[in-house]
Symmetry: C2
Subunit: 329 residues, 2 copies
Amino acid sequence: MKKLINAVDQVENQMISGMVKAYPHYLTKLNCGNVVVRTEKKSGKVALISGGGSGHEPAHGGYVGTGMLDAAVAGAVFTSPTPDQIYEGIKEIATDKGVLMVIKNYTGDVMNFEMAREMAEMEGIKVEQVIVNDDVAVDNSLYTVGRRGVAGTVFVHKIAGALAETGADLEEVKEVAEDVIANVRSMGMAIRPCTVPAAGVPGFELKDDEMEVGIGIHGEPGTHRETLKTADEITDMLLDKILADLDYSGAETAVMINGAGATPLMELFIINNRVADVLAEKGIKVYKTFVGEYMTSLEMEGFSISILRLNDRLKELLDAPADTPAFKA
Amino acid sequence: MKKLINAVDQVENQMISGMVKAYPHYLTKLNCGNVVVRTEKKSGKVALISGGGSGHEPAHGGYVGTGMLDAAVAGAVFTSPTPDQIYEGIKEIATDKGVLMVIKNYTGDVMNFEMAREMAEMEGIKVEQVIVNDDVAVDNSLYTVGRRGVAGTVFVHKIAGALAETGADLEEVKEVAEDVIANVRSMGMAIRPCTVPAAGVPGFELKDDEMEVGIGIHGEPGTHRETLKTADEITDMLLDKILADLDYSGAETAVMINGAGATPLMELFIINNRVADVLAEKGIKVYKTFVGEYMTSLEMEGFSISILRLNDRLKELLDAPADTPAFKA
């Protein structure tokens, strides 16, 4: 295992410390594990909290700030945060308008967020939740009942966060988050695995001419392995599956080409070149494109495509101001 | 060679096409090779042009937009753009206030930009240039007489671009660019090499316990190889060299932790954790920190640290609005 780290048991703490030291105007760390909250607490709005395992940076700490999240909770690498951590985050950000939890659909995450919710509700805090399940690759997985939540989650942060910032009620913010979830689909692949520091060995192994298709974001194997194809062929394969899952015809869309962590931006742009052409051929209009690292898996090399079907309200909220370390609009 | 590409001879074209299709409101491609210019041409200001080989994405196309560059020219991977390409870019963006070329110090880049400048001056276009040489690792290299230009170049784009946007004269914009260059120092290292697509083999090879120190941004070997150390030890080594080269005492600074292309953001934050601590110990104040991929080398795994010594004017210009695909302020 070759990594730029100090000690396996310090990667999460030192990562969060380094993030908070980079962005003190945005982020403050609580004294209860790796929980970051907005440095300037905002009242009179629904507060948003998200999180999950570490190793997905900039998710989710990078999305804490104006117009997105109010808190992000980070567990150990690829491991759910504890109920206590999540509860402390909720308590810190709660306003009288309530708290919305944005949970990616992994059994551990859902369980621990729901336990934290119960703890918060016993304190009289109003909490709602949404569960993101945008990955079309699998209907169930080793870690999930139902589809997994992947990079499409960032659209939930952006759009629900923008509505919350206007002072909308908890039910409205939850509803728009559900609207994003209903309209976003994603799928990914990898050509090189990643190594969880505490494990010391890669989550799977690939030959020089192989790729893993339908990959999740926790270094686990995908749905199947096949011979490496060209960027265009791979892109077509992922797009076929996404476009078959939701009717995008005539719609305007937001597209995210998300790097898994070690994929050169050059290759992500080559992939977007094909995505843009295919969508244009099919009469699907791209309103906005995001190319970069939004939800990573350590040093995995690969990418995912997320496509969000927009309506006027989602468009407006997607464009609304956001000021966070990793996402500005 | 395992890459997400279609054909070795198409990587640059398809990358630029994919970039322009992602950001049509920002970028328009000229019909003369891989030159991108601002979609909304701005008059009444000094126009900035930069560029170099491809493979450094988001540099430089990602920095074209309000408050930074007006044009970016991309050669083949790690290869200087041609004088013709640069000339076409200059012609397209030239205003009566003139054009400033921001050149990284590589012999080929300097020669070709200067030839383009001569061509433009024969057409009556006023052109000035600055040469960025922020890399403290080597005083000369295989590709350079004098020090190399690396990630510190992005500070030149940001600050000179911000002054240009105010309508300042060419001489003033050049002067502030020179001020940034005089005050920024960088150094990098890598734990995994990258492979130029047309070459098909990595630029160097490292054993599992080795790292390459004093690396450039073109996949070339660094100044020396040594046993891999901890992130903190490596960071201290690079900082020592940077801080010995310029008197930062008592100064406010801007810090950039730049990923080489395949380095997980988690590791860049672990590095920033140490950088912040060391600078604090030495009484060097960090005004702003940038952590991410700003000037990459394909899928090289490693990082560089850049530290810019600020004064009031540089601070103000660093904070001024910028709206480009890869840098927003």
